[in-house]
């Protein structure tokens, strides 16, 4: 038995610049932090069964991995060349499609576990690249590279996407005081509605040419956002999120809808500095930065507004930032 995990992440600025249509013309940049919400994967060698099992929100048992409906597990097993006698189960603390990058956390945890299963050891960069290859080349998701790198490396990072496809990972060295302050200012509010990242991203990809200048400004704003965090100027950081949100809404029509706009306005009306919808947009989580004395009021107002909007399951998700990335926590090594 092997148990692996990878963290989810909050992406602050620069989403969309990690797509090749953009970074082949201009360096893409994203700043994000991993959080204490993990996708866990359990992999069991089952020599006396004659099947491949995948257990997630449904339970699949098939004779060959090519019959699996779960695209990431299917393509990963086919790619690694494991065709039998394996059971893979996944566990998550919150629903899929919250905009916390959980699909890529899943891929990183899965690949970490499968590497341990086949006796290979990959470094963080190799795991990140393997997850990109799995999701983009094999599963053919129209997504970028930021989430795979965030989940594989862990911590708070500035990622830069270069024209040659390479990715620079620069850790943001925040001391514990600033980290705890930032966590106190941050509100993560699950909107209850779920969305499919690929549909929004497909539109974003198609629109990249038209919106090249907007994405360029977002990429260029990453260093200033980083500096604001290092100064613990969370008011400025919040204002920059507001600017980014306004810019990003110009990118795609489906990134926001009237309901989400109203929720955002509720948070702003109760004193938040700024924020964004996490992930590719169109639902998921609202992330806001707010003054400490206004925080509780913003959360209460969001809860009321979510009820009024009929957003089932909406609510605050408490988070803290973590340094740890994709890892194998347990390996029984044949016993």
């Amino acid at each position: 038995m092997i148990i692996s995990r990878a963290p989810m992440r909050i992406s602050f600025v620069g989403g969309g610049t990690d797509l090749p249509d953009f970074y082949k013309r201009y360096p893409g940049r994203v700043i994000s932090t991993c959080i204490d919400k993990f996708i866990f994967i359990a992999i069991n060698h089952a020599p006396f069964t004659n099947h491949v099992a995948a257990r997630y929100s449904v339970s699949e048992e098939v004779e060959h991995p090519s019959e699996l409906k779960h695209s990431r597990i299917r393509e990963a097993l086919l790619d690694v060349g494991i065709h039998n006698n394996i059971e893979i189960a996944s566990f998550a603390p919150i629903p899929a499609r919250t905009g916390l990058g959980s699909s890529s956390s899943f891929s990183v945890a899965l690949l970490r576990g499968l590497c341990a299963y086949t006796g290979r050891r990959l470094d963080k960069r190799a795991v990140a690249e393997a997850a990109c290859r799995l999701e983009i080349d094999l599963v053919k998701e129209p997504i970028g590279k930021q989430d795979q790198y965030a989940a594989a490396f862990g911590g708070f990072n500035v990622l830069q996407f270069n024209a040659d496809g390479s990715v620079d990972v620069e850790p943001l060295l925040l001391d514990y005081k600033k980290r705890l302050q930032m966590e106190a200012h941050l509100i993560l509010f699950f909107l209850g509605t779920t969305r499919d990242a690929s549909s929004v991203l497909a539109e974003q990809k198609a629109n990249t040419e038209r919106n090249f200048e907007v994405l360029k400004r977002m990429s260029d704003s990453v260093p200033a956002f980083k500096d604001a965090l290092l100064r613990a100027d969370f008011k400025r950081a919040g204002e920059m999120l507001l600017e980014g949100w306004t810019m990003k809404k110009q990118l795609v029509s489906s990134i926001s809808n009237p309901g989400i706009d109203r929720m955002y306005e509720v948070a702003m009306g109760h004193g938040a500095w700024g924020g964004k919808i996490l992930g590719a947009g169109g639902g998921g989580c609202l992330m806001m930065l707010a003054p400490l004395e206004r925080r509780a009021g913003v959360v209460e107002a969001l809860k009321k507004a979510a009820m009024a909007e009929g957003l089932e399951g909406a609510g605050e998700i408490p988070v803290s930032f973590v340094q740890t990335g994709g890892e194998v926590l347990f390996h029984s090594n044949g016993f």
Binding site: A116, R121, G154, L173, Q323, T324, L329
Partner: protein, 200 residues
């Protein structure tokens, strides 16, 4: 006499003034990650560096949570290797001095762990063997070296080099002790703050 003392103090002050802060910060993030995944931290060194390792382990395992020992279910697990003189002499006598750290490390090492290697020259063969073993397991390595960093410094994930002329052991080991105490103080302050937040 006082001039001699002053000169030594000035050298120490200059080294403290040019501490590799980025690498020390990376080391603290590596230790934070080890705590989050409940991994162990192995510390190795020869001679005075072994004394530093032992001293640090005693401090780090207890002092970090000294204000909230009862509240914290999870604590750091720092281990000096080898853990006993018997194990050290057995490996040295039976296998060879080059294996006194890598041999015992092999018994413990898991992917979730961290290695701290302390070597003023950075060239001790037994240290390099243990570092290479850790690297082959994808275990992050924090290196504390002196002089020109030797073979150790480039192998590490956090490259804490106290750069001095060759053979300035007294200065290097003294500054290493300060850095190790900084690790302890940082996490003590950090977990004190977390505990206060949880109570408020």
């Amino acid at each position: 006499m006082q001039e001699y003392i002053r000169q030594f103090a000035d050298q120490a002050i200059a080294l403290l003034g040019s501490l590799p802060t980025v690498e020390i910060a990376k080391a603290m993030n590596i230790l934070q990650a080890a705590f989050e995944r409940d991994g162990r931290i192995y510390v190795i060194g020869n001679g005075g560096s072994l004394a530093l390792a032992t001293h640090w382990v005693a401090d780090f395992n207890k002092t970090v949570f000294s204000h909230n020992l009862n509240e914290e279910q999870r604590r750091f697990q720092a281990i000096r290797l080898p853990t006993t003189e018997e194990e050290l002499t057995a490996w040295a006598n039976d296998i060879g001095y080059d294996m006194v750290f890598a041999g015992p490390l092999q018994n413990y090492i898991q992917e979730t762990d961290v290695l701290i290697a302390i070597s003023s020259s950075g060239n001790s063969e037994n240290i390099i063997r243990a570092v290479n073993l850790a690297r082959s397991h994808q275990v992050p390595v924090i290196g504390l070296s002196g002089f020109d960093g030797g073979r150790l410094n480039p192998l590490c994930d956090a490259k804490i080099l106290v750069a001095t002329p060759m053979a300035e052991y007294e200065l290097v080991e003294g500054i290493h002790a300060v850095i190790l105490h900084l690790f302890t103080k940082y996490f003590k302050d950090c977990f004190d703050s977390v505990a206060r937040l949880q109570k408020s």
